[in-house]
């Protein structure tokens, strides 16, 4: 089949899964942001500073894996800039702060002050962000990153499409909690929630409009109507229910609804264990979102609660990819398809395939997904 037709077939397969409709084959996606460069012989230092090279390494990985429908999140632009802006944190860079082929590392240190909450509440998110970013990002790299997104990213996406692979995510965002928790550091942020919740909430509320606008703009730029809404610091396994109900869920709900109104599918990329609060996802309109857990949330419980309401993307655990065997992969995928498929399921590594994933395990993931994922 020509690549153009293949792309259409795969895109349609993914869309059907999102709408919880029957599929011929359960869609299978790659995600392994640090694995791809290593497998393709590129250092992580190059991967973080050469956006075209990062795209080429990702596309090369897809081609080497062969029969996958597309890719979940991968490094778009300068990878560490993405991480820094998402968590308002410095990131140790391979090739600069770390050895050339080391894994980048988010530095969990307090970069924001208590007074910054007030500045965000008073002035809004965007003006604050612009004044704050030099504290955590090399602004020369940031400018290069933004320029690359506008000028080069759309061309890179075309290469994926031309090769027949569907880039699933068009924009990256999260909820304000995750961003400020990074900036304050978890320890301080959690204490802020205890000591001065109103002050925190005022900042969170002020951030929503600009964050929604940025996610919509990113999807428009990429032409991909799906936005990654990440989370792990705000997981149900971390936070007391009362705080989760006040500082987490309303923001996921509001941001998701704003995206859905624009025809964008939120991809709720939830790391850690969110089982306690899965039922809240039924408040979102049916067949408009994707839940993307990482292997820690009870995916069978998710299926039980959300069957026919929301697609589930996941969740081959990172541990199996890294230290398991191809037999472990086969067993996991067979059980996953049996218990959670076939409709409304998209097979994908949970969270992110780690840097030291065994290539044979990724190959087994694709083979097993195609073997057990065939519906008709």
């Amino acid at each position: 089949m020509a690549n153009e037709a293949l792309y259409q077939q795969r895109a349609e397969r993914i869309e059907k899964a999102v709408r919880c409709e029957p599929v011929d084959l359960i869609p299978t996606l790659f995600m392994g942001q640090a694995f791809a460069p290593r497998w393709m012989g590129m250092t992580t230092a190059q991967y973080c500073t050469d956006p075209e090279g990062a795209c080429a390494a990702t596309l090369g990985t897809l081609e080497r894996l062969g029969d996958v429908d597309g890719v979940n999140l991968w490094s778009v632009g300068y990878h560490t800039v993405n991480l820094s802006t998402q968590w308002l944190s410095k990131v140790l860079m391979p090739g600069k702060d770390l050895p050339d082929d080391a894994l980048w590392q988010v530095v969990e240190r307090e970069t924001m002050t208590l007074e910054d909450y007030d500045a965000i509440a008073a002035d809004g998110w965007q003006p604050f962000l612009e004044s704050f970013l030099p504290k955590v990002v090399d602004m020369e790299m940031f400018q290069a990153h933004m320029g690359w997104l506008v000028n080069e990213y759309p061309h890179q996406l075309e290469k994926f499409k031309a090769a027949g692979y569907v880039p699933v995510v068009g924009g990256i965002s999260t909820i304000p909690f995750e961003v400020l928790c990074g900036g304050r550091s978890m320890n301080s942020f959690f204490m802020d929630l205890y000591r001065d919740p109103a002050r925190v909430k005022a900042a969170l509320d002020a951030m929503v409009p600009a964050m929604v606008e940025n996610a919509i703009a990113a999807c428009a730029l990429s032409g991909i109507p799906r936005a990654w809404l990440g989370g792990w610091r705000s997981a149900s396994a971390m936070l007391a229910p009362k705080l989760w109900d006040e500082f987490v869920w309303p923001y996921y709900y509001d941001i998701s609804m704003a995206l859905i109104e624009k025809g964008i599918t939120p991809v709720l990329h939830w790391d850690q264990d969110w089982t306690r609060d899965l039922a809240r996802l039924k408040e979102l309109p049916a067949r408009t979102c994707i839940l993307n857990p990482d292997g820690m949330t009870d995916i069978r419980k998710a299926k039980e609660l959300l069957d026919g309401h929301m697609a589930i993307m996941g969740d081959l655990p990172a541990a199996i990819l890294s230290v398991g065997t191809p037999d472990d992969v086969y067993a996991y995928i067979e059980a996953l398809v049996r218990d959670v498929g076939p409709t409304g399921l998209i097979l994908c590594p949970g969270c992110d395939g780690p840097i030291d994933s065994k290539p044979e395990n990724f190959e087994a993931f694709v083979a097993a997904s195609r073997e057990f994922g065939r519906v008709s």
Binding site: M191, S322, V323
Partner: protein, 195 residues
């Protein structure tokens, strides 16, 4: 090789306890290695650990979420091959649920002869932690073989007793000890209970 995992929320005193345990364990002739992934301000690479020449391996987890567990397995394998220590003491990030961590380690490293989880409770910030991150604290308590109520010098007896009641409800079988890592109070007894 045996494994001791020291769990507890950020700032609960894990590094201080680790350093003290490392000092006394090496004095008894045990060969030790240390794995740390704490994201607070106190590193273990200074002071006693450096003087004693103990191998210290830092765990990098990228964005510190899902890949931590696999990094730990690979790190333990490397330490076993290179140093064959009697004990590896692991200090995961204070945000880790040690139950998940140990499950992964036990699945992929069945050769580990013995593994113990010590969970530290921050008595000084107990009320705050219960109100904000109760699910995480409970998970850390549930996974413990030994629970040390730390910073007892910062609170009165009634508070410690209340904490112990809650701790006991979360984990009916773990040994519970009272310690002050800063003053050293109770640490000898804690080590005896752990090893």
């Amino acid at each position: 090789m045996k494994l001791l995992c020291i769990a507890g929320f950020l700032g609960s005193g894990k590094t201080t306890v680790l350093l003290e345990l490392a000092r006394t364990m090496t004095q008894t002739g045990l060969q030790l290695a240390i794995v740390e992934n704490e994201i607070g301000d106190v590193g273990v690479d200074g002071g006693y650990v450096r003087e004693a020449g103990l191998p210290v391996q830092e765990l990098f987890g990228g964005c510190i979420c899902c890949t931590l567990q696999t990094g730990l397995v690979e790190t333990l394998r490397a330490l076993e091959a290179q140093y064959a220590p009697d004990w590896v003491v692991v200090e995961p990030t204070g945000l880790a649920a040690p139950g998940d961590l140990m499950k992964t380690v036990r699945t992929y490293m069945p050769q580990i002869a013995r593994s113990r989880v010590l969970t530290l409770v921050d008595a000084g910030r107990w009320e705050m932690l219960q109100q904000v991150v109760e699910p995480l604290i409970t998970a850390q308590l549930e996974a413990a073989d030994v629970i040390a109520v730390n910073k007892i010098d910062q609170v009165d007896e009634a508070v410690v007793a209340r904490i112990e009641e809650v701790v006991r409800r979360a984990n009916a079988t773990a040994a519970i000890r009272r310690v002050s890592a800063v003053s050293g109070s109770g640490l000898g007894d804690l080590q005896g209970c752990l090893l």
